[in-house]
Amino acid sequence: MNEQALLGLADDELVLGWRDSEWTGIAPLLEEDVAFSSIAQNEIGHARAVYELVVGPDGDADALAFDRKPEEYGCAPLVELHVLDWAHTIARRWLYEVADEIRITALKGDHDPAVAGLAAKIDREEAYHRMHAEMWHERLQDESRFRAAVDELWPYALGVLPTELRGELVERVGLAQVDAVDRGTHTDELAPLWEEMTMVRRSAPAGAQW
């Protein structure tokens, strides 16, 4: 897989992990407070592992994660959205996990053994995120608010995947193929997220020891 695609994956996981962590302390259920915090930690761990793979043993994964300008990130618009209600939050988690599973499964067959090995490790861990998302999907799928949120986010979900993998997502989710909100463009909501995400890092001079 090319470096740009790997960075897109890592940026998705970093930014979604960051968005998920916004529920820490304010989720509607204690159980979900713990679940979202754990999932966020795990997604950011996946981002770190992919950044480390991209930069190599002597590279600086932190620089890649935090020292780029917002427009240089390769994340899909889906993960950037600042969603404020539970229906949209769960709709995004579910759509993202279905798309991510398709992407990771493809990556497990990568010709580079380091990429394939890391994909297998990520896949093993994502299994828990999928069960969490699936459990909520099962519970909410007939609720009109949830359905509306899924419909609204659907073009964004398609944009997580390259065109050749979108057919499988269409099949799994059961919605019609529509124009995707593609990777490569950013929403207005990324810049404020970036401001906050990189605030501490930017407060210290480059090369600071933490």
Binding site: A35, A49, K121, R124
Partner: protein, 174 residues
């Protein structure tokens, strides 16, 4: 000249930062040790990629190797080679009785209880109330090793059920 066996022995002294009742060796995260001309190369596979203690473990290993007078090189292997099946029999012994001792009137230290909870959190990235059942399902599908199911038996909810059952049994005996 440092020997491989010495390195294994030294690493056995490093407790897992989150479940300190077991060592890194018992947890099965040391995949290999290669000793060559005073250089020690350790292949290390973290249990999960969100692990915040990764750097702490790396440093602890480097210090142990340096303490033996050798040059350490710890390589983090991010592939699928770690599962709960890699926990050694000795490690399992130390983990499982922790749950068994969590009965009314037992004197389980809060540190051990905390460690057990970490094990659960680690085994199931999301701790839904069905985490134990879920882990069973994952185990059946071959996604996680059998040990994860044991670890999830530490789940607080499960324990509470066990304790209520114990109380009923005690009542029946009286």
């Amino acid at each position: 000249m440092v020997a491989e066996a010495q390195v294994w022995k030294a690493l056995e002294q490093i407790p897992d930062p989150e479940i300190p009742v077991v060592s890194l060796v018992e947890l099965g995260v040391i995949r290999s040790i290669d000793v060559r001309n005073g250089h020690v190369r350790i292949e290390f596979t973290p249990t999960f990629l969100g692990c915040p203690a990764l750097e702490v473990m790396k440093r602890a290993m480097e210090e142990k190797v340096a303490g033996l007078g050798a040059e350490p090189q710890v390589e983090v292997i991010s592939d699928d080679s770690w599962s709960t099946d890699r926990i050694t029999p000795a490690g399992r012994e130390k983990l499982v009785p922790t749950a068994a001792r969590r009965r009314p009137g037992s004197r389980t230290s809060s540190a051990r209880r905390r460690a057990a909870r970490f094990a659960t959190a680690r085994a199931a990235a999301s701790r839904s109330s069905s985490s134990r059942r879920s882990s069973q399902a994952l185990c059946e599908r071959g996604i996680v090793g059998a040990q994860a199911v044991d670890l999830c038996a530490f789940d607080g909810e499960h324990d509470a059920v066990g304790e209520r059952a114990d109380a009923r049994r005690a009542h029946a005996v009286r």
